[in-house]
């Protein structure tokens, strides 16, 4: 039993990764490195970026912008989600706007942001508008599923409204909120890189733009892997925090 869980947890993913690298190496043998660089060439480019300091310089900018946009979206999204979930008037007022946020093409936001707020703040803004609806909708979903019997209990014991929101609603909304945060975090790194590519000259997206211009496909792959690793690490961190928070009582 222990062996089998060990296999599922560690051995299988490593085997999957080895298989992926082998297939990639095999395919790259048929193409020019400008089209498909090999894993070894990609690794070399990654090391070059790391040694030159570019990886940290650009990476740091991306991480700061990503987290800033994500953090603002968490604050605004959770508050708006609670407001819409708890208040019918607010729901009528804001819910259509949330749908507008969801369906507006990202490129429109990008171009509008360049006009409205200047190039440097575009990545942060893009992360904010793309992740905000995810957090709002998940929070609303959580509020809809709150146990009415617990609310009645709190009502009978005349617990004040602020405490009910903090101690009855919030813990029940948390699993939904964590699901929303995971989805939003996944979107964050994709959105920030795309916005950087089109609007600024610092950040992973900007590094990718330079690599594209110079036809340095291996460097492009290296930046892509940096974003993937960033996404995986932050996702694992969030899962860990969610487990710490929820496992105690769930």
């Amino acid at each position: 039993m222990k062996n089998s869980s060990l296999k599922t947890k560690y051995v299988a993913p490593i085997l999957g990764l080895v298989f992926f690298l082998a297939v990639w190496q095999f395919i790259s043998g048929f193409y020019n490195p400008v089209i498909v660089p090999s894993p070894i060439e990609t690794w070399r480019s990654f090391l070059t970026l790391a040694v030159s300091g570019l990886l940290w310089e650009h990476g740091r900018q991306t991480i700061v912008r990503g987290f800033a946009g994500f953090g603002l979206a968490v604050l605004a999204g959770t508050s708006l989600g609670f407001l819409i979930g708890l208040n019918r008037t607010a729901a009528s007022l804001f819910q259509p706007l949330v749908v507008v946020l969801q369906v507006t093409p990202l490129i429109s936001w990008l171009l509008l942001a360049m006009i409205w707020i200047g190039f440097t703040k575009v990545p942060l803004f893009i992360v904010f508008v793309t992740t905000l609806p995810l957090i709002i909708t998940n929070t609303i979903q959580g509020i809809k599923n709150v146990d009415l019997q617990l609310l009645q209990m709190a009502d009978v014991f005349r617990v004040d409204k602020i405490r009910i929101i903090r101690e009855v609603y919030f813990p029940q909304v948390s699993p939904y909120l964590f699901a929303g945060l995971a989805a939003a975090l996944g979107t964050t790194w994709k959105a920030v890189a795309m916005a950087e590519l089109l609007s600024v000259n610092q950040g992973v997206g900007a590094g990718m733009a330079v690599a594209r211009t110079n036809l340095e496909t291996a460097t492009l792959f290296a930046w892509t892997f940096f974003l993937i690793i960033l996404g995986l690490l932050t996702d694992r961190l969030l899962s860990y925090l969610a487990r710490q928070k929820l496992n105690q009582w769930m």
């Binding site: 009978v156 014991f157 005349r158 009582w249």
Partner: protein, 249 residues
């Protein structure tokens, strides 16, 4: 302590959709006593409690004697907050008290219900009976003038049930307050009730009101007048049930 005299339902009507639950329902009982509502399952006992708590409003008629009362309640289900420990579940409803006052009450009632050693555990680690006992602790700890008990012993085994009946009687003895106790168990009603209201099936009417003047701690249900009361209530409930069956036939 707010001075109370009577808690009354005055010609109360309550329907849910097409179902008439209360139809010109009235009763009046003195405050400071234990009032048992006994009747067949689904006769509207919980609706009466919900009307008392204010969770439901009557369609017509009025309820008097409950305005400005601090109401505490044990629901049919424990209704505990799973993310709070045993102690925190009680302190959640004690917001108007200072921390030392809260702690004193929590310790007192947890010890009374033999839950003290579980004070830092989460509800998921408690059995069904322990959860219900915790819900009773919470209701007793909450400063109240009126306590509503909605079949709180339903899911418990006989021994625990008898123990809890004695504990409720003991707690009432220490702090006499109005308790409205909904049950479908005649023995529980005889052991705890100063007044027993025997209710009919829906739409609910009062078939009879019994007043028992024997002190709670001195009741022996094997000795008269309890067997007579038991048979009388049973006859009322069975008579109503068979009438209702005949009606259906």
């Amino acid at each position: 302590m707010i001075p109370l005299e009577y808690i009354s339902f005055n010609h109360v009507y309550k329907s849910f959709g097409q179902t008439r639950v209360l139809d010109d329902f009235s009763f009046s009982v003195p405050a400071g006593k234990i009032i048992c509502l006994i009747g067949p399952s689904g006769c509207g006992k919980t609706t009466i409690l919900n009307l008392l708590t204010g969770l439901e409003q009557p369609d017509r008629g009025s309820i008097s004697g409950t305005a400005n009362l601090r109401i505490s309640c044990v629901f049919q289900e424990p209704r505990l907050l799973p993310w709070k420990t045993v102690s925190e579940n009680i302190s959640f409803v004690l917001q108007d008290l200072t921390i030392p006052q809260q702690q004193e009450l929590i310790d007192l009632y947890l010890k009374n219900m033999s839950l003290y050693e579980y004070r830092n555990s989460y509800p998921k680690h408690l059995s069904g009976g322990m959860k219900q006992r915790l819900a009773i602790c919470r209701a007793f700890a909450f400063p109240h003038d009126l306590l509503l008990l909605d079949e709180p012993f339903k899911s418990l085994d006989v021994l625990l049930r008898m123990e809890l009946v004695q504990q409720v009687a003991g707690m009432w003895g220490e702090h006499p307050r109005t308790i409205v106790f909904v049950t479908h168990d005649i023995l529980d009603a005889l052991l705890l009730g100063h007044f027993i209201l025997v209710l009919s099936a829906k739409p609910t009417t009062t078939l009879d009101t019994l007043e028992i003047n024997i002190p709670l701690g001195e009741r022996d249900i094997a000795v008269e007048p309890f067997p007579a009361y038991y048979n009388h209530i049973l006859t009322l409930l069975e008579g109503r049930a068979s009438k209702s069956k005949r009606g259906q036939a």
